[in-house]
């Protein structure tokens, strides 16, 4: 790979632009899609690789090309700069997620407590509207406080994000469901919320709860059967 091509690839990554690197095997001729021109079949293969987030080889006119998508990282929006978040955020960073912590309580959301990740001090509905969760985003609410969690869930439920989790007991969640219904959300939408949040590993401590939540986020992202809780009117979760 030439230094110039590596620089272009890194520039795209820094700008969160999805690009695909195409390499002809075995001579190593390379193209960067969509910046460089490609014959239509290779362009289609590059678009498909980006859509499915899956690298693979294609053969065109007897030439084998390796198509390598470079999508921006999956985002995780954490509402509540609380104790569980302090365990969850570094673990999420290790998993390669791009994390934003949302909490208008500036005493909680400090760079000291959350080094190296984005912080938003806006009210959660405004923060989430600005962040605009897409199909490669996960949202988890951790504040326990309806006046912070509910506005975030309200926006998340109107977005195509692949995961919505809300900390709180079954009883807390039942009350939350009633409030979200008053905001106009139907049963199908509300069933998208994973609550109680996380895979059931009988987590007790903050890092254990963080582990269960992130395991569930991974399961949802990869389309694992674990992502569908037994007995719940589970939504169909698609891999992204």
């Amino acid at each position: 790979m030439t230094p110039a091509l590596l620089a272009r690839l890194q520039e795209a990554q820094a700008a969160k632009r999805p690009v695909a690197l195409l390499t002809r095997l075995p001579d190593g001729e390379q193209r960067l899609w969509p910046e460089d021109d490609l014959p239509a079949p290779l362009a289609e293969a590059a678009d498909a690789a980006l859509r499915d987030d899956e690298a693979g080889a294609v053969v065109l006119d007897g030439e084998k090309w390796f198509v390598h998508p470079h999508n921006p990282p999956v985002r995780l929006i954490v509402v509540g700069a609380v104790h569980v978040a302090q365990a969850l955020v570094p673990m999420a960073v290790l998993l390669g997620l791009a994390v934003t912590v949302v909490d208008p309580r500036r005493a909680f959301a400090t760079p000291d407590r959350f080094p190296g990740v984005s912080l938003s001090f806006d009210w959660p509905d405004e923060a989430l509207a600005a962040l605009a969760p897409d199909a490669r985003s996960a949202v988890v609410t951790l504040t326990h406080d309806p006046k912070l969690d509910d506005p975030a869930l309200d926006v998340a439920l109107r977005s195509p994000c692949f995961y919505i989790g809300a900390l709180g007991s079954r009883r807390t969640h039942a009350k939350r469901v009633a409030r979200l219904q008053e905001l106009g959300h139907g049963d199908g939408a509300i069933a998208r919320i994973r609550a109680p949040v996380g895979l059931d590993i009988a987590a007790v401590t903050a890092p254990e709860i963080a582990l269960s939540v992130l395991a569930e986020v991974v399961a949802a992202r990869r389309g694992a059967a674990l992502a569908r809780r037994a007995g719940a009117a589970a939504p169909v979760t698609e891999a992204v």
């Binding site: 790979m1 230094p3 590596l6 990554q13 095997l25 899956e54 080889a57 390796f66 390598h68």
Partner: protein, 105 residues
């Protein structure tokens, strides 16, 4: 380390004046431990970042990378149980994979 970090690390090493080779998994068969697109960066001085397997073939890939770093010629390498080097650098899992090696230059 994510594969994005491997690229960043490789770029940083190159900026320091190191000769760097980049290995990428381009095809897999059976139960290969790392998917296509996984990367390993190695330098002529012996630094390594990332992975192309569960640790089974990294040494062999780094060894092969010397030639690519010297000549600049890319290589397409096959590793797996059916390979004649299997008992030496095969994959314990029984998978097969193909690795593309290129010099960063």
């Amino acid at each position: 380390m994510s594969d994005e970090d491997v690229l960043a690390t490789a770029a940083a090493w190159a900026a320091e004046g190191e000769t760097v080779a980049l290995a990428t998994v381009v095809d897999t068969w059976g139960s290969s431990p790392r998917p296509a697109g996984s990367r390993l960066a190695v330098t002529a001085s012996g630094r390594m970042a990332g992975s192309v397997s569960g640790g089974c073939i990294e040494g062999a890939v780094a060894e092969a990378a010397r030639r690519t770093m010297e000549t600049g010629a890319p290589q397409l390498l096959d590793y797996g149980i059916s390979d004649e080097r299997a008992w030496e650098v095969g994959l314990a899992c029984g998978g097969k994979l193909q690795v593309f090696l290129e010099r960063l230059a």
